[in-house]
Subunit: 452 residues, 2 copies
């Protein structure tokens, strides 16, 4: 039942494509899910993929198009004329997918495609959806939904649903509105088929439904659907009129995307890359954060340069530079990651800014005490110079506390200014903490070597 | 329509609880979703939460129980006798939730609870589910599903569905089996209500359905449901008999969990913590990886100690220690994160182990060349000693290449041995690369200062 993509399949397909055996190629793809076909295409080179794609039927082709990674799709749509995009793809799609595709086109082409669409209602729906911010509920929703009036009977509903359902992939809920299109509630299909046909919809309605506004952010949409285990969520405007619905599959993509974005940030990768990508693509994703790391390293060298004389005198101080820097970096990343993860999970937190800092201060003081004691014991046990022992322990203590506070404050501040707090988790915070740690270590070491 | 938890709500609730006003407390919770009630409880102290919980009706109480974070739930169930757990919670639950709850109990209590359940079929279902690995499809699935025989008519189906549906929260698909309970396909509810009543189910069946085996791993289940945009997925045994179904809400939890696990690993946190957690809980989650970092730092100090004389002689070498260590760490984390992310996304990759390494080698050579050139230019421009300039550039080049290779090989090897590859992304790889970087830097610097 399940298609398992393997090397032999690809090799055979390539051979057939090379021999221009269109019919056999189509035969191999027969019965495959569009997502599988898209996956197959990713394994082919551009020419082969194009040949294969051009053999597909309109409705399959449009389903496959949605499944192709965004970058490949953009490149592909660039070379196609507006009439092909409109008639061969857009007209087969639901409005949310269509809006995603059209939204990616250049301004002029966008208009040309919308002009080409023959079903003016569809063109209107797409144009409506394009008005919304891509990352808002409006940008996620589809206009296709099954909607009935609260004054109808079950019988009228079923008839009406059978007409509306033609255009929709899957019905999860039937939405109920009043005469002004204000959302009143939902009907579950299950309830509908179990009730006598003359019952009024009004009496079957589930009134307490979750709904979001068109401008609700996609993260919040995902949190609501996740929390309440919803498969579809209605979207309303500011006076409660039903505008569309968001389905769980789109939200799963949002969850995955958001998680990947945060993950990339903390691991210092810019952009969505996978092992399978091209060398240049992989390299480019890694350079920006490494450049920050390099600049931080140079700054660190400058800071240490000030103390070059002191380091010459007490070379042993240099031995613990990596330890101080690494601990500062690790502690900082931990602190900011916890803040970012808490924000991402949508967990409520009533603590004030001050209380959060106080808590982090407690955590960092305990942590600092533990590790300062450990490193003190190590140096004491291995009989290091008294000044060095003191310098390293005191520095580690202070550096851990500072790095914790920085790691907590920066994402919180970024979040308050509506900047993605995850920015604070990457090499940026590590680098900042590295340098800060070095400065503190040098000052404290200098003081210790003069004091002890 | 949406409940917004706020400080005033909690304060008022607390006051009512303190005054023992059970009725008013229940009034405040009226109409709230179980997930909201669970959230409210998290804001209360244990005594308050217990008071509130004991006021709830059985079916609400069981829904709330499922929404409470696992640790709190375990603590809570510990103090309740088996008969309360069975009659007040389990009997109101679907089999997958019930199995999760019972599975968390101690062996003796588990059996006592199963004995207490009056509906022997339900007890049997739960016992069946407990047999499966928690992280497998069998562990995720519920036994409740709507199933019809392929030889029935639409009319019989609808009647049968109306009986079966009583026990089920939401129907997404109707599963069709033959006389041996072998899964033949699905019916969509939409199709069913649109067809004449005498049509045979056989003729409406969608045969090409995705299904997983009971022992399929949960990551794979998530990947399949995500890829094919499914809201429910049937689970079959090894000869194709229908055993249960997995719904999208459980899979969303799996996706979130897996992403969080990887995120925590790369940011050096052990365990699932949020800003709102207790100080000790937060501290404990941070100590293990920091300890590794400390040991790494001490090892680093030992390595540098070998070269203490050389460092005294050429103190300028020490200035670039943080730069080398930081770059090694960052590059290593990037490499392993890309591998981990690729594995997590379930992307297919036909490249052999050797080809993957070759690709990483290309990426690292370009990266190394870029940064070695940059740091060479910097030192050249600022007129550093020739030996130092050479030492830092050559070291950075070699360290970047090594760190890349390590960062790629380790997660791949871990994955091959079925160990979570994310283990390679945390402070472990950073620390390893730090030390390796230091050793290389010291050797190369020594050589440079004797050669130039």
């Amino acid at each position: 039942m399940k298609f398992e993509l393997n090397r032999e399949f690809i090799d055979k397909l390539r051979e057939l494509i090379e021999q221009n055996q269109a019919k056999e190629v189509l035969g191999m793809l027969d019965g495959l899910h569009p997502a599988d076909i898209a996956e197959v295409m990713e394994e082919l080179n551009t020419e082969e993929a194009k040949f294969l794609y051009l053999q597909l039927d309109g409705d399959v082709a449009s389903d496959v198009l949605i499944e192709i990674p965004e970058n490949d799709r953009k490149r592909f749509l660039k070379v196609l004329p507006p009439e092909v995009i409109a008639h061969q793809f857009i007209e087969f799609m639901e409005s949310d997918d269509a809006a995603d595709i059209v939204g990616d086109l250049e301004e002029e082409k966008k208009e040309a495609v919308l002009q080409e669409i023959e079903d003016k209602e569809q063109a209107g729906d797409i144009a409506d959806l394009l008005e919304y911010d891509e990352d808002s509920a409006g940008g996620l929703m589809a206009k296709e939904l099954v909607v009935v009036n609260e004054n109808w009977t079950v019988q009228t509903c079923l008839k009406e649903i059978s007409i509306q359902a033609e255009e929709i992939d899957e019905i999860y809920y039937v939405y109920v509105v009043d005469d002004d299109n204000i959302l009143k509630g939902i009907l579950s299909l299950k309830k509908l088929i179990l009730k006598p046909t003359q019952t009024k919809v009004k009496n079957l309605i589930i009134e307490d439904v979750h709904a979001v506004k068109t401008d609700t952010e996609q993260e919040e949409v995902a949190q609501i659907m996740e929390k309440y285990d919803l498969v579809a969520l209605p979207v309303v405007d500011h006076i409660g009129r039903l505008k569309g619905r968001i389905t769980i599959d789109d939200v799963v993509d949002v969850i995955r995307e958001e998680a990947e974005k945060d993950y990339q940030m903390v691991s210092g990768i810019s952009g969505d890359v996978e092992s399978g990508d091209k060398v240049w693509h992989l390299t480019r994703a890694r350079l920006p954060w490494l450049l920050i790391g390099l600049l931080g390293g140079i700054l660190g060298a400058r800071v240490l340069g000030v103390y070059e004389g002191a380091l010459k005198e007490n070379a042993a101080v240099a031995l613990f530079i990596p330890l101080i820097a690494a601990m500062a970096g690790n502690v900082g990343v931990q602190s900011s990651s916890i803040v970012v993860q808490t924000i991402a999970s949508g967990a409520r937190d009533f603590d004030s800014f001050g209380k959060k800092l106080l808590k982090e201060l407690s955590v960092s003081l305990i942590t600092a005490l533990v590790f300062a004691t450990l490193i003190f014991s190590y140096n004491f046990f291995f009989d290091a110079a008294k000044a060095l022992t003191m310098a390293v322990s005191i520095s580690l203590f202070i550096v851990i506390v500072f790095a914790s506070m920085f790691g907590t404050v920066i994402p919180l501040v970024l979040n308050r200014f509506k900047i993605d707090p995850a920015l604070a988790t990457g090499p940026f915070i590590t680098t900042l903490n590295d340098i800060l740690g070095l400065i503190l270590y040098m000052i404290i070491a200098n003081w210790c070597f003069s004091a002890f």
